[in-house]
């Protein structure tokens, strides 16, 4: 075998290894999501009694005939079926007979045993009811104080969807704007205490936000801000700022010095440089942080619960979702469809912003 051929082979093998691993990881990550998607189209009873994978063709035990034992068969002794004695426990789980069939209790009470064979089966009961419940609100039936049966339509998702949008978008933009200014300052401006201030900001990364909930709530109550959108915007902005500043600092400080120096020589002020050079060049970093922050705020439950509360007119979508399962979690099955509906906008945001950070904007910028 020539050297070239063996190299080629090696490359092939490593390619297969890498691709194989990637495919495995992708499968591991997506299978639960696919399961959730399939479950969202199934009824509550179906989800409770059979796995989502039964919608695929599979082989399952199907009863072909039944054996009626003597009514007086002693259940505590080994059970004799067709002349062979079996343990009771084994019959509960099913005993394979070797010819591709198995025998299993159908009803111990009536002394009936099923003879089963494996047959191809597919589970094809689907429903849109879960999505209907989430989109249009559940219907409640009750009797009012005059004794009339009444039905009432519960809240749909639209209101909480708008609330979440109204919370998430400003709560994404505000910290990015502030953090971009701050990152520029830390990276390119010289002022005393710069290192110390920056270290402080980075150190704030390790402070868990739960720690700050009560003090901030007290301040908001004192300022009469609590329950307003501004309160939750500020809270999210504050909690997001350390990470945003740190990420953007790393990016902005790595921009080529030459560009900024030539701008300074041409007499540009810091503000001009920031708006004309830094912001456009930082779009990839801004976009990736925007995705993080947007997803975080979109999925947030705790901050919104504390600062705007759970009243139906102001509650965000995560709360609406949590409420849908009912006081005791009896309607857990609607979560499946709810999860997919709440996913839509984050996916749109992700795919529309993704282009900005995949494209290397830096490539052409220095040549120009």
């Amino acid at each position: 075998m020539s050297k070239k051929a063996s190299q080629k082979n090696q490359k092939k093998i490593s390619n297969i290894l890498v691709n194989g691993t990637l495919i495995l990881i992708v499968l591991l990550w997506t299978i639960p999501t696919i399961g959730l998607l399939v479950s969202s189209f199934r009824t509550r009873d179906a989800i409770a009694t059979s796995g989502w994978w039964t919608v695929l063709p599979h082989r399952e035990w199907t009863t072909t005939s039944q054996i009626q034992l003597d009514e007086d068969t002693d259940l505590n002794a080994p059970i004799v079926v067709n002349g062979v004695a079996y343990e009771d426990d084994a019959l509960r789980d099913g005993v394979a007979l070797g010819d591709g069939t198995q025998i299993k209790w159908q009803s111990r009470r009536n002394r009936i045993i099923d003879v089963q064979e494996k047959e191809w089966a597919i589970n094809s009961e689907y429903t849109l009811q879960n999505y209907k419940n989430v989109m249009t609100g559940k219907t409640y039936e009750y009797v009012d104080s005059e004794g009339n049966a009444k039905t009432e339509q519960g809240d749909d998702m639209s209101n909480s969807f708008l609330n979440t949008v109204a919370v998430s978008i400003p709560a994404t933009i505000i910290p990015i704007l502030i953090a971009a200014f701050a990152a520029y300052g830390f990276a390119w401006m010289k002022f005393p205490g710069r290192k110390f201030l920056f270290t402080t900001v980075v150190a704030l990364l390790v402070v868990p936000l739960q720690l700050a909930l009560i003090p901030i709530l007290r301040d908001f109550v004192a300022l009469n801000l609590n329950g307003t959108y501004l309160a939750v915007w500020l809270a999210h902005a504050g909690f997001g700022l350390p990470l945003a500043t740190y990420l953007l600092y790393n990016y902005i400080s790595s921009l080529p010095r030459d560009i900024l120096e030539s701008a300074f020589i041409d007499g540009a002020s810091h503000f001009t440089i920031f708006t004309r050079l830094i912001l456009p060049l930082s779009v990839p970093a801004l976009a990736s942080f925007a995705i993080f922050q947007f997803l975080w705020v979109w999925n947030d439950y705790l901050v919104a619960l504390v600062f705007i509360g759970a009243k139906p007119d102001v509650q965000v979508m995560t709360m609406r979702l949590a409420e849908m399962v009912g006081s005791r979690g009896q309607d857990w099955h609607v979560l499946t469809s709810g999860a997919f509906i709440t996913m839509i906008l984050p996916l749109v945001v992700f795919f529309s912003l993704q282009r900005f950070f995949v494209r290397g904007l830096m490539a052409g910028s220095v040549k120009g």
Partner: protein, 457 residues
């Protein structure tokens, strides 16, 4: 391209601002109330807060409420309040949250407490009473009227220790019964079984079902992070049936340790029933892995796989959609064991506690002490009134009426002990150690000793 991005951001920002402007302004919950000065007629001093409210004195005021019931329960609650709101002009703004236990602590600490909160766990309320945040109802409500309208047990259970001595921390508005055994009525009758009225009959019936070829009991205690709570309910039932009420009360307050013979005996009675050969569907191993809501489902198969299921009246919401009360299922009272302890009933309920002492809040609290406040919910189904001035005629379904009768006929009523114990035990080690014991990880003595060790000093 860059311009487009900025345009996009600008548009999004404008849309968001516009949206938030369109929304009915999220007003701060703590609106400064223009308290009506003493412009009310002088004789209003002799009227109770509720009477003054009914006279329209507090019209236009807002009372905020928070609680754990959401969704359908919230709709029913709001509907049952509508009548009161219409008559008095007081606007009750209820805010239900799935994370009530966590959020109420943050809100009280942060100075953003609702005017009234609905606690399903008196143990949690006790911690707020201890920190002095809760208004003492004793000062404002007519105690004679309360005594006339509640079983004394309820009033006793509302007394809690505050920083300045014992106060009445709240009033009970809605209760539910726990000492119920559900069974598949049609099959049960067809099999010729009789409803047991004593513990021995219950054990005999269980044995009969096993001899006939099925498992007797459907038991499942899995409930996510709260796994084990149905087992604690069983323990409380058996404590009430095997020892005195004094011992039960001592046990709940920590004076009687879990490792005492009384508690151990109750656990053994439970084990004898659950772990006997073939008594539990799926055997001992299945108990800790079966979701409590799924546990009764085998009763509803064409041929029931298990026949008896002990759970509170809420469990009907987990029954299959088509199951009909009185046909597909029914329930009986979990019989007493030792005749000297009679027929006790284990209950749970919602206690309303006030965090503000404005007059309209007191009026709403006083309203909660009357059966009228829960009448709408009772009629809608799913609630049981603890008030003496409520009527059995209000119950529109047989299940609720039957549960109400069981509670009214009880020799004694005791509250779910795990909800009264400190959180570290009642919603912590008690759940966990019972689960460990049932799954066979530790033996009974170790499990009980572990609970004792976790009791806050």
């Amino acid at each position: 391209m860059k311009n487009k991005l900025w345009q996009l951001i600008a548009i999004l920002a404008i849309v968001a601002m516009a949206l938030s402007a369109c929304q009915s302004a999220a007003t701060p919950t703590e609106e400064p109330m223009t308290e009506e000065p003493t412009s009310a007629p002088a004789d209003s001093m002799d009227m109770s807060y509720l009477e003054r409210a009914m006279a329209g004195e507090f019209s236009g005021t807002v009372v905020t409420m928070a609680g754990p019931f959401t969704d359908e329960d919230a709709v029913k609650f709001n509907n049952s309040m509508a009548d009161f709101e219409e008559k008095t002009g007081i606007d009750i703004q209820y805010e239900g949250s799935k994370e009530f236990e966590a959020s109420i602590s943050i809100r009280v600490e942060g100075g953003d407490a609702p005017d009234i909160a609905d606690f399903p766990q008196p143990g949690l309320l006790a911690s707020f009473v201890d920190s002095g945040d809760v208004v003492d109802m004793n000062q404002y409500l007519d105690m004679d009227a309360l005594k006339a309208n509640y079983n004394q047990s309820w009033l006793d259970m509302a007394m809690m220790d505050g920083p300045d001595g014992e106060i009445m921390a709240g009033v009970w508005q809605r209760v539910n019964g726990k000492s119920l055994v559900w069974y598949p009525k049609d099959d049960f009758d067809a099999a010729g079984y009789e409803i047991p009225t004593t513990w021995d009959e219950l054990v005999a019936l269980s044995q009969q079902i096993v001899d006939d070829g099925d498992a007797a009991w459907c038991i499942g205690i899995e409930s996510g992070a709260a796994t084990g709570w149905p087992a604690t309910d069983w323990m409380e039932e058996l404590m009430l049936r095997t020892t005195s009420l004094e011992n039960y009360d001592k046990w709940v307050t920590g004076e009687l340790p879990f490792s005492s013979p009384e508690v151990k005996h109750a656990a053994e009675v439970m084990s004898d029933l659950w772990f006997a050969d073939g008594f539990t569907y799926g055997g001992r191993a299945a108990i800790t892995t079966t979701f409590f809501g799924d546990a009764p489902l085998p009763m509803f198969e064409d041929e029931p796989k298990c026949w008896l299921h002990k759970q509170g009246n809420f469990i009907t919401s987990f029954f299959p959609a088509g199951a009909e009360a009185g046909v597909d299922y029914d329930f009986f009272y979990l019989p007493g064991i030792d005749p000297q302890y009679g027929n006790p009933v284990l209950v749970a309920g919602d206690i309303m506690a006030a965090f503000a002492d404005r007059d309209e809040v007191k009026a709403v609290m006083e309203y909660f002490t009357t059966g009228a406040s829960v009448e709408g919910w009772v009629k809608a189904g799913g609630a049981i009134s603890p008030h003496q001035d409520s009527s059995l005629d209000w119950y529109t379904n047989d299940v609720d009426r039957g549960v109400a009768e069981i509670i009214l006929n009880a020799d004694s009523v005791r509250f779910d002990g795990s909800d009264l114990m400190p959180g570290a035990v009642g919603s912590g080690s008690f759940w966990k150690s019972m689960t460990d014991y049932i799954s066979g990880t530790v033996d009974l003595d170790t499990a009980l000793a572990e609970i004792d060790a976790s009791w806050p000093k």
